[in-house]
Amino acid sequence: MTPLYNQLPQQSVSGWGQYPKMESVQIAVHSKRKIRELFSETKRNGLDQYGLITRGLGRSYGDSALAEQILHTEHLNHFMQFDADSGDLTCAAGVTLADILDIFVPRGWFLPVTPGTKFVTVGGAIASDVHGKNHHLHGCFSEHVSSLKLVVASGEVMSCSPQENAPLFHATCGGMGLTGVIVEATLRLIPIASALIAESSYKTANLEETLTLFEEHDNATYSVAWIDCLATGKKLGRSLLMLGEHESREEAVKEEQSQESALQAHKNGKMNVPINMPSMLLNRYSIQAFNTLYYHKQTRTHQTRSVHYDPYFYPLDGLHNWNRLYGKNGFVQYQFVIPKSAGLVGMSRILEAITRSKRGSFLAVLKAFGPQNQNYLSFPVEGYTLALDFKISPGLFEFLDELDRIVLDCGGRLYLTKDARMSEATFKQSYPQWEVFQEVRSQYGADRLFRSRQSQRLGL
């Protein structure tokens, strides 16, 4: 029998930001049949009064994978089909991006889109509709998913794609797990000749220069800027802009000497933060020192190097549980996007507000987004996005409310995957398709079964 809410011990669970925490029961599922049984027993026992949400590796920062009942997909982790001509991979939703890289990089394939950590599941990547450093050219993760399978509230397994059950597909991609349980997906991998990335980095003096460089290099496959968010005045927005291209076999072989090592997958990092660090460790001064050092680490205005995909895409994966550096009270990650039209002026306003507050972020990442896709709740719109970490501290939420107002004023919005605190009004104003999303949910009975702490906060 499937274990039920009242038969399992509760555990304190949180997102990657360790804020907020909540007591909930953990239910691991092993097959579509088990999920179906769980749904019918949940309803029969009146347990649908409690929220139920799917969770992959728990890398969303806030409360989007928190509910009284959490359904874990880690055991749904099988590869099902691979077409070595097209690169089409069908796999269960609990397969991780790390797993895909491990198996397919040595055969010359790579993820079409990857976020800043490889420790996410395919299901989670779809539910968050994650983006990467190539968004300006290749869009979000879901744009490379040709079809997926979803267990809806009735227990039925629905196939959906941009052609089949399209509204359900567009609600599910970016839908934060609120339409059903994603159990399977087909995505198209891209061919690579080398595991190395040719990185080219530019040091910029201010925000204007940074944004101009993004424009100039809009044909680069990968681009992202690390921004010194504590620099003020004329230096406001000074950055290191990093571009990247997959290396050709010739380049890689020249550097690595052999063909085999040219396609070496990542190794598992050994470094770990074993316990929560005192939150004092990350203070205004240490963050300022880090930012200044990081900016000056590159002395020339332009330099190139060859780097393995692992440190290039996933610099923080090398340090397991790095979130503990922020201490036991946790942190929030604040990621917003503002449309291109708001551009320099809008971004300057926000950066000025941040520097004024002296609430620096250890890592602040700026990126230019390409066009928006058709999914109802996908985050990216054409413009600029900035992601910042803020340690939980007195006055932080008031300050973030203030930032929300500027972001809304610029016509922007916040990323649900990072969010732990925005208001219902802010959400509904900035995600105008929320009503279409709700209609699709209620059509499939999802609103009565799938609820996260986030969805309840946002009035979904």
């Binding site: 011990p9 691991a28 097959s31 198996i103």
Partner: protein, 245 residues
């Protein structure tokens, strides 16, 4: 290329282990009860790099079936470098205390079935003249405790059987590996609250592959269980019997 036979292939530890062998390009033969799951595992193994992945149904509690199913496996693949026996259940101790039928059923699943499989396999490996017999038992088999002595007795029986087998086959160059995991986070233990002593099946699998490569006799996994069990085995009985374990 290694050829690996796995019995109870749908168990979490077996699955994590077969993935490591698949990644190395081995040829796999999977036996288990859940045919749908076996097919899923075989498919997954092939995509991960297994040269081949066969599967067949085996209900370990149907002892009459053992010889023919094993014979089919050996006939179709020829020889096996490694045979891993991984099936098992975690009995409800209270239910066993209340019913001898439950106790006997659990002893059958966790001990008698394994003895039956090993009897056939030991003879076959002896003819083959090389290879590894690896069996997952448990640290619970090292000493009887009130919380799970039916499970402990079953696993302890298998461990002693393996000791004898190792003694018999040592001169024939056949490795007999007794794998004793501690607490492992698997569906079998879904109802337990997990603490720092709990390990992931992937960690256990890595240590199993390593112990097979190194021709070890007994593997406590994770490693610290060797020391924990050393202490537990050496507590004098007059004290031990009063402990709540």
């Amino acid at each position: 290329m290694q050829k690996i036979l796995i019995i109870g292939a749908t168990s979490s530890i077996a699955e994590a282990t077969l993935r490591l062998y698949a990644h190395q390009g081995a040829e796999l033969y999977l036996l288990g009860r859940d045919e749908e799951k076996l097919e899923t595992l075989a498919n997954d193994a092939k995509i991960r790099g297994a040269a081949e992945a066969h599967w067949a149904k085996l209900d370990v509690n149907d002892i009459d079936q053992h010889a023919s199913v094993l014979q089919t496996a050996f006939s179709s693949v020829g020889t096996f470098d490694v045979v891993l026996i991984a099936h098992g259940t975690l009995p409800d101790q209270q239910a066993c205390q209340e019913s001898i039928h439950t106790t006997l059923r659990e002893l059958n699943t966790n001990a008698i079935s394994t003895v039956s499989l090993l009897t056939w396999l030991a003879n076959q490996m002896e003819i083959q003249g090389y290879g590894t017999l690896a069996v997952i038992t448990s640290v619970a088999g090292d000493r009887g405790r009130q919380s799970n002595y039916v499970y402990g007795a079953a696993k302890g029986m298998v461990s002693i059987f393996l000791q004898g087998l190792r003694n018999r086959l040592a001169s024939k160059d056949i490795q007999v590996l007794d794998i004793k995991p501690g607490f492992v986070d698997t569906p079998m233990t879904a109802g337990f609250k997990k603490g720092p002593l709990w390990a992931k099946p992937q960690t256990i699998a890595q240590s199993i592959v390593k112990a097979i490569d190194k021709q070890r006799d007994t593997l406590y996994t994770p490693f610290f269980w060797r020391w924990i069990m050393l202490i537990i085995r050496n507590i004098p009985e007059f004290i031990f019997k009063k402990m709540k374990l």
